[in-house]
């Protein structure tokens, strides 16, 4: 059995939702907020569904598209915002620009100005992330698999989704470690895995199966 040159220390993270005290009643105010909100707020409103509900509809939904469709009833625009492929963006600034450009373009060609009903305004939020080490460390694939089956989904999210934003070229913490221990094919398979097409529990099971296959070699 291959031994890793170093231990894989499982971290986990917890997010505290921050209320920014800014709200939008209509598209113009949403656009203003999108331009000035901190990066963490853009990340929050595009990734919250995934983290909080652990499921995925056919397209990764985001708060902006949801609000425009369901509260302002601007279906066509809402569909365009909802269909932004958030995983395509490796920088939050580019993701933000994508939303801004679509709404700007829409406002230039639309004379409608709809206000959200009172109480259903868009509230800008963000999250403060606290990362901390768990007591779990793996030295080979067998240990890795066992730990993966019992860590929280927050830990899984940290090592796969958050890692993708920290790293480049589709890497995540798991694929980097597999690579270092010489499990190049496993690393490649994990790198090519599209995590957005799984629930978090589904992703856990998929990774366990993958690792189990290589662990038998």
């Amino acid at each position: 059995m291959k031994q890793a040159p170093d231990e894989f220390r499982f971290n986990t993270k917890l997010d505290q939702t921050i209320l920014l005290g800014k709200k939008a009643r209509n598209l113009a105010e949403l656009l203003g907020g999108l331009r000035t909100a901190p990066d963490a707020s853009i990340y929050f409103h595009t990734h919250k569904f995934l983290q909080q509900h652990h499921y995925l509809s056919p397209e990764p939904p985001n708060d902006f598209g949801y609000w425009v469709t369901n509260i302002l009833n601007e279906d066509a625009l809402g569909e365009r915002l909802s269909s932004i492929d958030i995983i395509r963006f490796d920088k939050i600034s580019r993701l933000r620009n994508s939303f801004v450009e679509i709404i700007e373009s829409y406002l230039q060609s639309s004379y409608r100005s709809v206000n959200a009903p009172t109480g259903q305004e868009f509230h800008f939020m963000s999250a403060q992330t606290f990362v901390f080490s768990t007591p779990h460390g793996a030295h080979d694939l067998t240990e890795f698999k066992e730990i993966l089956s019992k860590i929280s989904i927050h830990s899984l999210y940290y090592h796969v989704f958050d890692a993708a934003l920290r790293m480049e070229q589709g890497e995540n913490d798991f694929s980097v470690w597999f690579n270092r221990m010489g499990e190049l094919s496993l690393a490649d398979e994990v790198r090519r895995l599209d995590p957005y097409t799984y629930t978090l529990e589904g992703l856990r099971q998929k990774l366990i199966l993958l690792v189990a296959r290589y662990d038998q070699h």
Binding site: L14, I18, L19, G21, F132, T134, S152, I153
Partner: protein, 208 residues
């Protein structure tokens, strides 16, 4: 006796383990929760369950209650209603009496803890004590804050701004204030008597 491990089948062992990791960060720190009633009402219900659970996580958490007379609680009821947007008659004398009771409690309470978590508007002015004793202060608002009566809001804001952070239950309650605002959504305790599954026979007996 409620046990933190009883929640493992519901939220997962990993999540319970994370609670212990989080609690470890508070090692050596003490937390005092302060509200206005020991029984009855949502805050008392939360704290009755939460304090024993925090202690099992080895967090030095405790709970104390402010004292007030009938006039004080009539005023706090009016403040509560005003925050819901209901027009309420709160005179300058009422606000002054509200402060007087808060100041009396500030003298009587043991506020030597590292963190002071003040729940709802009734004890909000205890924060005046901060200028003498320092400490970390958190204001947790459990009530609807979306359309408050402007005069009542203006009065309370003088005190909210002194806290380190405010905790609200819904995004719509956030305000443009100078301190950090965080969201703690409402939750239920799946193991409390109120939420436990009832046998079919019991349900039928009650319905009949």
């Amino acid at each position: 006796m409620i046990n933190i491990e009883d929640y493992s089948p519901i939220i997962g062992q990993g999540a319970v383990e994370e609670l212990f990791l989080l609690a470890k960060k508070l090692e050596g720190k003490s937390i005092l929760n302060i509200n206005s009633t020991a029984v009855g009402g949502g805050v008392a219900e939360i704290l009755t369950r939460m304090i024993p659970l925090l202690k099992q996580l080895a967090v030095d958490a405790s709970w104390d209650v402010i004292k007030g007379d009938e006039r004080f609680f009539v005023i706090t009821k009016n403040i509560h209603n005003a925050l819901h947007g209901v027009s309420a008659q709160i005179s300058d004398e009422d606000f002054a009496y509200f402060l007087e009771i808060n100041r009396t409690n500030a003298k009587q309470l043991n506020l030597s803890h590292d963190f002071l978590v003040v729940h709802d508007p009734q004890p909000i002015a205890l924060i005046e004590k901060r200028k003498d004793i320092g400490r970390h202060w958190l204001w947790r608002c459990h009530i609807d804050f979306s359309e408050p009566d402007p005069r009542t809001w203006s009065f309370l804001k003088n005190y909210i701004d002194w806290y380190d952070a405010a905790v609200f239950s819904a995004p719509a309650f956030a305000r443009e204030i100078s301190i950090k605002q965080v969201l703690v959504p409402p939750s239920i305790d799946p193991l409390s008597d109120k939420n436990r599954e009832l046998p079919e026979a019991t349900i039928h007996t009650v319905l009949q």
